[in-house]
Every structure is written in structure tokens, then in C-alpha cells.
């Protein structure tokens, strides 16, 4: 089995992109996964149905941090409609690794946060 800890995941986990607060946010959310203690706070700035900026903070495993980092990179500048169509497969594609059912939950928490934000 190939390691899921590819360089890209480790780099994003070590220095996540878009990590921090967003003072200009229009929406924000805090989600947690009580089973593993992961917490994510995500803030977005939405202008004219486009995500013009997005940031997150929180604590969690490397997979959840890398997922949030890659997802926020992807979401920036995208139309809300386009982001609504994202699903499990999109996240796996972004991460570029296969995940078992237990670790998939870690990877999907940032997506859940984003989708709740843009459905508000």
C-alpha cells in the first residue's frame, strides 16, 4: 500500500495555505468532529456569488489540515454554484491519495464546513 503521507500532504499540513482569520468575512462557521477532536473554523468573503476570499483555522490531523489547505486554495475565486457541486470524489482528487473510510471523515470536514457556509 502506498503511503497517504505524500510530500504534497505533508507540506500542506506543515504550512497550510489560507490559514488564519478573515476580518472581511461575510460568513463563518465552526465545525468539529468529536470522535477525533478535530475542529475547524472557516470564514468566507462572498461577493456577487463568488468566493472572493477564504481562510480557516483549527486543529486536526495532517489529512484534515492538508484537505482544508487544498480546498481553500481551490475555492478562492470560484462561483458558489461550482463549489456546491464538490463531493467526496473532488476531495480525493485534490489530495491525490486513496483514503480508507475512517480517514475520509478527516478529509471531508473542511468540505462540510465550506458547503454549510455557501448554503447559508
Amino acid at each position: 500500500m502506498a503511503s497517504i503521507y505524500q510530500e504534497i500532504i505533508l507540506q500542506h499540513a506543515e504550512s497550510p495555505h489560507n490559514f488564519g482569520r478573515l476580518p472581511s468575512s461575510t460568513n463563518k462557521i465552526v465545525l468539529d468532529n468529536p470522535l477525533c477532536g478535530d475542529v475547524i473554523q472557516m470564514e468566507v468573503e462572498i461577493r456577487g456569488k463568488i468566493v472572493t476570499d477564504i481562510k480557516f483555522t483549527g486543529k486536526g490531523c495532517a489529512i484534515s489540515k492538508a484537505s482544508a489547505s487544498l480546498l481553500t486554495d481551490f475555492a478562492k475565486g470560484k462561483k458558489i454554484d461550482e463549489l456546491r457541486a464538490l463531493d467526496k470524489t473532488s476531495i480525493i482528487k485534490l489530495l491525490g491519495v486513496e483514503l480508507g473510510p475512517n480517514r475520509l471523515k478527516c478529509a471531508l470536514l473542511p468540505l462540510e464546513a465550506l458547503q454549510k457556509l455557501i448554503h447559508k
Binding site: M1, P34, K59, C61, A62
Partner: protein, 405 residues
């Protein structure tokens, strides 16, 4: 001495995976061939219900089922078979007991438990307390697992129940149950004491009468037996006063449209067809443990845990936080590698064919208390070796390197 190479031959899981390092026996143990064979033997040759048929194979299944009960009675030194109730697992044993105790508790009565308890010995009491207006008191522990010094001040004349584990599934501490019970009974002799023995009974020799507790619960699957079989032991005079947990077949003496007379102990608490194959195979698990010797098994797992504890400290120093005492008293060692999430550690170990548990191990109150979000837990049992300790330490060095710690 425990001969791990010989023991591994009895566990078929190693047949196709000789290098597998299984360090999660605290969650569930591996199963030896004799246990698996006994399950298969029942289903293949005499899969009849118990207590019902007068034909040969039903007689046999009933006899084998009751033989396990007798062996369990001997194994934990109970005074009679009537005190041995088969359940699905430790959790069900506790729920049965909590349900039974419910009627005799009144608003204002106190229940005492410990912050380090597994959820299964914490939540049922907490919920009962909320439902009935009882006072729910919690004994604190420090990071070595020692109970708060003045814990006895929580015990009063109004305390009706104390629930504690024998071996903590995270701290790995072995509670001095006998002394604790003596101290409690001095303050209030009427307190009913339930001991969760899930992590103890597969390696610590248990004598329920010598311990002085009123109820003792455990699961077969953590001591080489099948999943789906648990035991509630309680003193006969106490069980006699508890109402049934579930109603149905196997637990009645007579039923009329107006009235039901329940069966005697232990059958009154065993409604419905139980896990017959599992109970029968459980006997083989106990025989296996007795054959190897509990004392030897205990010494072996503690030696491995101590070796692992020492190597963790020596190799990682300030980069590791180990939960529980410096002197290990069970095969359990929970820890965190600072700066690396427990799930990442467990996942990387998995890539090296090592199975550990990551998370809060069903002990969220304890993790909150210690300020730890999630920990990694390695637990050692009779089929583990000192090589396994070295393998996990090597893999952990890799983890640290990967995360540049």
C-alpha cells in the same frame, strides 16, 4: 516465561501475516484456534438451542453452555453458578446492573464514579442520575492515574453505588480494589460496588470474593474469546433483589394471561436465545489462558509495556507525552507524539503493519481532564514480543522524521 514464538502458532491471524504487530488487544484480543474451532464445531455438529430440546444435540449444547458457566465461576472464584449471568459484553452487563439498581435509588442518593472510566461505566450512571435526580460524583485522577488524595471525602452515608474499573483502559493503572473497597465499606458498609474488569480479567487473577466487590463485569472478546459474550457477576443475594432486564423466552417459569413467574438465577437475566456458540467457545479461551498461566501472562505484558515506556522516554524525550504512571501495571501504554496528531501516528504505523488505537478510547472525560485531544494507545498481550516493542519504536522514529519534529 512466555514463549511468544510458540504462542503465535496458536493464533491463525499470524499464519499469512507473520510480521503483523498487533498492539490493540485492549480493544479486542486476537483469537486462538481452539476458540475458533469450538465455534465451528458447535455450528457444524450440534447447533441446537439450549434448555429446550430433549434430543441429543440440544442436550449437548446445553451441557457445553453450562460448562462454560461453571468454568467462569471457578475462574473468578464466585460462590455459585447462579451468580454468573451471560450478556453480550461488558457494556450490556453494566446496563443490566444499572437498570436493576434503578428501582432502589431515590432522589438525592449519590453515585460515585471516576473521571478515568470508560464511557460504558460512566454514561449509564450519569444518565440514571439525570433521570432519577441522583447526585453524580466523580473522583478525579492526576496524570499518573492516582486518585485524588481526599477521594474518600466523596463517599458519604448517602452514597449508594461506587463504580470503578479494575484496570484503566487508558492510564493502564491497576486500581487497588481490595483496599479501596475496605476503605469505602468503613465509611458506609451498604454501598454497592461495581468493578469493571474488562481490561483486567484476561491477565490479572481475579477473586471476586476476596476483592469484596458486589458486582464484577467483563467481556470474553478481550480475553481471547469470541465477540458478543459478556459476563455480569454479582452476589446472589443482590441479584435476587434486582428486577429482570429484558422479558421473553428462557427467563420465565410460568406465564398465564394475567401473570408471569420468572425463572431462577441466572436464567432470569438471560432472556432470549443467547450467543450459544460464543459462550461455548469462551470456555476454550479461559482454558487457554489457564494453560499459559495468568501470572506469567501478566508479568510478560507488564514487562513489554515497561520496555516500551522506557524506550519512548529515552528515544523521544520531550517530544513524547505518556499518560499514566512511570511504573507500568498492565500491558497498556497511551501516549502522544507532541505536534503530531494521534490519527497520523496510527496511520503511519499501519503502513508498517502495526495496529494501534488512536483517539480518546471511549474515555473522553479523562482526555478532557488531561488536556489531551486524542492519544495513541499500544497494548501488549501474550502474543507480543520485545521485537514488537522495537518495531513500533522504529516506526515512531519515522513518524517524527516525517513531521520534522
Amino acid at each position: 516465561m512466555i514463549d511468544v514464538i510458540e504462542i503465535k502458532k496458536d493464533f491463525p491471524i499470524f499464519k499469512d501475516n507473520a510480521d503483523f504487530v498487533y498492539l490493540d488487544s485492549t480493544a479486542t484480543s486476537l483469537k486462538p484456534s481452539s476458540v475458533i474451532r469450538a465455534m465451528s464445531e458447535y455450528y457444524s455438529h450440534y447447533s441446537a438451542n439450549i434448555f429446550r430440546g430433549v434430543y441429543d444435540i440440544s442436550e449437548r449444547s446445553t451441557k457445553e453452555y453450562e460448562e462454560t458457566r461453571s468454568l467462569v465461576k471457578e475462574f473468578i472464584h464466585a460462590s455459585s453458578e447462579a451468580e454468573i449471568i451471560f450478556t453480550r459484553n461488558t457494556t450490556e452487563s453494566i446496563n443490566l446492573f444499572v437498570n436493576g439498581m434503578s428501582d432502589r435509588l431515590q432522589r438525592g442518593d449519590e453515585i460515585v464514579t471516576v473521571i478515568s472510566e470508560h464511557h460504558s461505566n460512566f454514561v449509564p450512571w450519569q444518565q440514571l442520575a439525570q433521570k432519577k435526580g441522583l447526585i453524580f460524583k466523580i473522583i478525579d485522577v492526576d496524570k499518573t492515574g492516582t486518585w485524588q488524595e481526599d477521594w474518600q471525602s466523596l463517599i458519604t452515608k448517602k452514597t449508594k453505588v461506587l463504580a470503578t474499573s479494575h484496570v484503566s483502559n487508558v492510564l493502564g493503572t491497576l486500581n487497588p480494589i481490595r483496599q479501596i473497597i475496605k476503605d469505602i465499606k468503613k465509611i458506609n458498609p451498604d454501598i454497592v460496588i461495581l468493578v469493571d474488569g474488562a481490561q483486567a480479567v484476561g491477565s490479572v487473577s481475579v477473586d471476586v470474593q476476596a476483592l469484596g466487590c458486589d458486582a464484577y463485569v467483563f467481556s470474553a472478546h478481550k480475553m481471547l474469546g469470541p465477540t458478543g459474550v459478556g459476563v455480569l457477576w454479582a452476589k446472589e443475594e443482590l441479584l435476587d433483589t434486582l428486577p429482570p432486564y429484558q422479558f421473553g423466552g428462557e427467563m420465565i417459569r410460568s406465564v398465564t394471561p394475567q401473570k408471569t413467574v420468572f425463572a431462577n438465577l441466572p436464567h432470569r437475566f438471560e432472556a432470549g436465545t443467547p450467543h450459544i456458540a460464543g459462550v461455548i467457545a469462551f470456555k476454550q479461551a479461559i482454558l487457554y489462558l489457564q494453560g499459559k498461566g495468568l501470572k506469567k501472562i501478566y508479568d510478560h505484558e507488564v514487562a513489554l509495556a515497561q520496555d516500551f515506556y522506557n524506550k519512548l522516554n529515552n528515544t523521544f524525550g520531550k517530544d513524547v507525552t505518556i499518560i499514566g504512571p512511570a511504573q507500568r501495571a498492565s500491558g497498556i501504554v497511551a501516549f502522544t507524539i507532541n505536534g503530531v496528531h494521534a490519527h497520523d501516528v496510527a496511520q503511519i504505523l499501519n503502513e508498517d503493519n502495526i495496529a494501534v488505537r488512536a483517539g480518546h478510547h471511549c474515555a473522553m472525560p479523562l482526555h478532557d481532564r488531561l488536556g489531551v485531544e486524542a492519544s495513541v494507545r499500544a497494548s501488549f498481550y501474550l502474543y507480543n514480543s520485545f521485537d514488537d516493542v522495537d518495531t513500533i519504536v522504529r516506526s515512531l522514529i519515522k513518524v517524527r522524521k516525517m513531521f520534522n519534529k
